[in-house]
Symmetry: C2
Subunit: 187 residues, 2 copies
């Protein structure tokens, strides 16, 4: 089978996630594994990060108070940088956004078009928020979407499962890291 | 309290919904009630409808086979029209889209800006798909979002509840028709 042009999209794996999301670190090894497998196969790697201006002017209305009290994901800070274990390399593509969907007022779609990508492998945090919003837009743009089920996470396993169920009904593929790597080995 | 400029957004209450979504009709009376209350108060009413070209060229990739076998929501057909009980009136705003989010490649945001709307009352079908995708984009655009909990619906009560939980965590307000009408009476 000739594989469709594919890219790996890693969502919001930034240092501030450690303090904001319980169990954030648990998902890092699975993402490291698919990241390494993608690099070996020259699959383009795209990091989407949520990064806010220091004054918070670009923070969602409902989080402005929280941000004013305890700023998060501020440009140029350690908190906004990608975690050590998943460091970008030269040639990776960095996309910066301020909303749940990685497509929302970013150049993600433009970059994917330029790369000729038709299939998006998606991992990162969190399943119900940035992951799902990005998946929804990816489906809207007619990408073939694979959500890597053990390389995304939510606050609880129940939230995670309910969201996977809904996204499956949106027509996306759901695969584990192991299943995906086995498939990549067959291409 | 001076109310923020508000609009009512009714999502995908079209005739084909009756055959595509079990219990679709159950939500109609609640929507009729908030529609009537909105009209009495001169709150602008916006109908977002999903409408496809007859050849299906604008259908999501994952539903193209389904559409080819049994077309749905085709422009100009009875199935694509708004259900009888919720008929639009002169002056209402019609927005036509082809994807889950009512904002996706439509002029919904432009219309809301022109109307000066800051608060969106959202109802329609279905909670996990078009409703949630539209809510997500409305939050991204910094609207004050109220989801009318008994005027939206999903395939099962569990799906409905799980999605309401997630959306509450996105910072939106959740109110019943009765609560909303009581609040409108106080403005």
């Amino acid at each position: 089978m000739m594989a469709q042009p594919t890219a790996l999209l890693i969502i919001d794996m930034q240092n501030d996630g450690m303090s904001m999301i319980p169990s954030f670190r648990q998902v890092i090894p699975a993402i490291a594994q698919i990241l390494s497998a993608s690099r070996e196969r020259q699959i383009p790697v795209i990091y989407k990060s949520r990064i806010h201006r220091a004054d918070g002017v670009d923070v969602e209305t409902f989080r402005r108070e929280l941000f004013a009290c305890r700023p998060f994901l501020v440009e140029g800070t350690f908190g906004a940088a990608v975690v050590d274990e998943l460091q970008p390399k030269e040639g990776d593509i960095m996309v910066r956004g301020t909303r749940f969907s990685g497509f929302f007022q970013t150049d993600l779609q433009l970059v994917l078009t330029r790369l000729g990508v038709r299939r998006l492998l998606i991992c990162g945090v969190q399943t119900p928020n940035c992951v799902r919003a990005t998946v929804t837009d990816a489906v809207a743009y007619d990408y073939d979407v694979v959500l890597i089920s053990d390389a995304v996470m939510a606050q609880t396993p129940e939230i995670h499962a309910a969201n996977l169920f809904d996204m499956k009904n949106m027509g996306i593929g759901i695969m584990t890291v192991a299943e995906l790597i086995a498939e990549l080995n067959c291409d």
